[in-house]
Assembly symmetry: C2
Homo-oligomer: 450 residues x 2
């Protein structure tokens, strides 16, 4: 009899693994359970569906259940896995269509349960008009509201999703207020002074940004009417909670599969969990951070796709090693691009690395060109060696993807002294003759030596 792979969670990691495994082993029976009504969708595209940049919800769906069926993958939507029995090699499921329960045996199991939006324990979070943005269902709801007419939005939390939701509703002409408990926006990835460039751009666009203020409660009786934050009352027709996500690992831990201090499922570099024949990938699992050498839990589409691919290769008889992450991420607020990779000085030092950092400001193009926009690069390197540890970039069009050079350098443990002389592309519409990346590297190499 052919082996059966059961996949729990049919999004980026799960379906990448399922597809990869089926492609490599045509005898493998693959059953994927998804508790929601959509599978294999581009969660990162949701803010752009809310804004209207993306026309159709279906544009965000990479592959339909029919397409998966033709690829030999039995995808069961609205079917939640409620428990895993490692001894009997079965999962129990509950259908959200008809309430029926069932049991399915597996030879191999992939856990790709993802992450859920964190809902803070706060009065009013259950009121109509209070949303999160994580699933395609969430996106559809916000799109309807955004498209129905203008109103007042309060976004709670200034991380990536918060910024992108603020942009979407700002584009729609809404009055947007952002409330963040930390002293600056994007504070988990961007140093405060660079975060202030982002909040300045938001303010310039008419978004009111309130930092260092905790939300006390969400107001309303039948539906949301506002938010009280730091004693101040802010009226709202809509509230979006964007205070981060949590890995969905309870199913695994209840089955006795080890979960790490991050809340993510512990995996080795083959995505194998602590249980034989059980792999995990995506937002629910930990990953190795190449700079801090720590296991972290990151909710990034790239990581989900990559770890899914690795799991899919290994559970179908291959031998692939996931080499870890740098946590590279990018977003924008209208014309302002924000990107990070690796570790900041603070993050590196917290991991026991002696780090120095430099910050340089310049332009994305030759100063006399209309394409020239402000560009700030912070580069973190190891003291002494000048090995590149990470970078933060904030700037206009063309700024953000420069982060990939620092990611490449950090990945390869290249020194700033080497990076300084790399032959970067120059023409007036694209860079100054000394690209600011080289200036940053030169300065970092000098500071690292001193």
């Amino acid at each position: 009899m052919d082996e059966r792979l059961v996949v729990i969670g049919a999004d980026a990691a799960g379906m990448t693994a399922a597809s990869q495994a089926r492609r490599r082993d045509r005898t493998l029976e693959v059953v994927a359970f998804e508790k929601g009504k959509y599978a294999s969708y581009a969660a990162c595209g949701e803010p752009y569906f809310v804004s209207g940049d993306v026309e159709e919800l279906s544009d965000l769906i990479a592959r339909t259940p029919d397409q998966f069926a033709r690829a030999g993958i039995d995808l069961r939507l609205r079917t939640e896995v409620t428990s895993i029995d490692l001894d009997r090699r079965t999962v129990s499921t509950l259908s959200h269509s008809d309430g029926s329960t069932s049991e399915t045996g597996f030879d191999k199991l992939l856990i790709a349960t993802g992450a859920r939006a964190f809902i803070p324990p706060m009065q009013g979070v259950d009121l109509p008009g209070v949303h999160t943005l994580r699933t395609l269902t969430d996106a559809a709801a916000l799109r309807s509201i955004a498209a129905a007419g203008k109103g007042r939005l309060v976004v709670i939390g200034a991380g990536y999703i918060g910024i992108e939701v603020a942009e979407a509703f700002d584009t729609r002409g809404w009055d947007v207020v952002m409330v963040e408990a930390l002293p600056s926006v994007m504070a988990r990835t961007l140093d405060a002074d660079l975060g202030s460039k982002v909040s300045d751009a938001m303010t310039d666009s008419g978004v009111r940004v309130i930092t260092s203020v905790m939300v006390d409660r969400i107001e309303g009786t039948d539906s949301v009417t506002g938010v009280t934050a730091g004693g101040q009352s802010i009226p709202a027709d809509l509230v979006v909670l964007a205070v981060g996500g949590r890995p969905v690992s309870e199913l695994a831990s209840q089955a006795g599969i080890p979960v790490g201090p991050t809340g993510g499922i512990i995996v080795d570099d083959h995505q194998l969990t602590g249980a034989e024949g059980v792999w995990a990938a995506g937002d629910c699992a930990e990953v190795y951070h190449r700079i801090t050498h720590q296991m972290v839990n990151m909710h990034l589409g790239t990581v989900a796709n990559k770890t899914g691919r690795i799991a899919g290769i290994n559970l179908s008889g291959g031998d692939a090693r996931f080499p870890g992450v740098l946590g590279t991420a990018i977003t924008r607020f209208h014309d302002l691009e924000i990107a990070v990779t690796g570790a900041s000085k603070v993050q590196a030092e917290a991991a026991g690395i002696d780090a120095v950092e430099v910050t340089v400001s310049g332009l994305t193009a030759a100063h006399y060109m209309p394409e020239a926009h402000d560009l700030t690069i912070r580069l973190t390197v190891e003291k002494g060696t000048s090995v590149v540890l990470g970078s933060q970039i904030v700037g206009g069009a063309g700024a953000g993807k420069r982060i990939d050079v620092f990611a490449t350098a950090a990945w390869n443990a290249m020194t700033a002294g080497d990076l300084e002389w790399v032959d970067f592309a120059y023409a007036p519409p694209f860079a100054p003759v000394w690209d600011l990346m080289a200036i940053a590297a030169r300065k970092a190499a000098a500071v690292a030596r001193s």
Copy 2:
């Protein structure tokens, strides 16, 4: 008595070196001779002055003679060095202002004579209305013509400058015809199939592109009236010759300073020529190509600035080594971006390296985003090891500067197998979840192994 540095040629390389040297050694007397009437200008910006993107000629001048004087540099414009006497340690000069001649002693000499536009031996090249685009004087002349009204332009030569001149006059609403003797545009840097993407974009914009056709002669009696190419008559009000440049090294060779087979002055990795106390930098000198391990002569603003910096450090008592070039370059034709780095398969094989190449096509952003444009990446790697040797990129907005990642990888002799997993930045407006750079690397790693 203080030492005197004489600089011949006061553009990117010469003035970078002069500034660097003076900054490091305040006792150094610096005299810079420039035969033209402008110094220290951004030659690469000239096409954008012709097009009108850049408003003022002065925008292209990095530093004025007054600014150099304040920095302790005696800049003498319109003063041509006519000979170098290495034994007597003097240069002879001719003033183009008053016709006077003079002699100036030096302790140290930097030759930064640059390159001149190549004028093919062809009937009609001296006619009024036949131009090149190299100096700021050239740019000013073309700007006047471009701004005076629409007309018919024939560009001879489809290299970087040819493409940029075509774009400038196309922007101005001129009828533009490009004639190229080779079978494709940008044939020295871009493989023919990728070149055809560029010529397609030009054709779409209304530029007539004629390849594989030699220009027989330029027609006209008092001024240019057209071009005869391959027996065909093409009317023209203006002809721009853009068939490449030649290093200006006669002054050096006449003084007995060795010149290489490329026509460029031979230098070591400290920019020192074969003569004691004489350095050379910029377009007039050879440089080491890190991939082919050959000495080449490249006319690039980046190389001029970098070798000028190295020369300036070394001639003021420092010890800096120029690590060579990859020949990274970028340009655009309107919305189409074109970039190259390192060696193509053909170039690598000509240098004795066993190379393989892959070509992948995709998009610059998530497929559902308005920012998604076509993107094609060709990646060349060493057979077996998959060490990155070079890349060619053609695509829409955001395509070109991706070349810097491949430049960084090639610089550090990184393998495609490593590059495949680098944590590149992803968000829907900036890249698909697997950036095409990673797809190219994956495919190259597989082909290199096979």
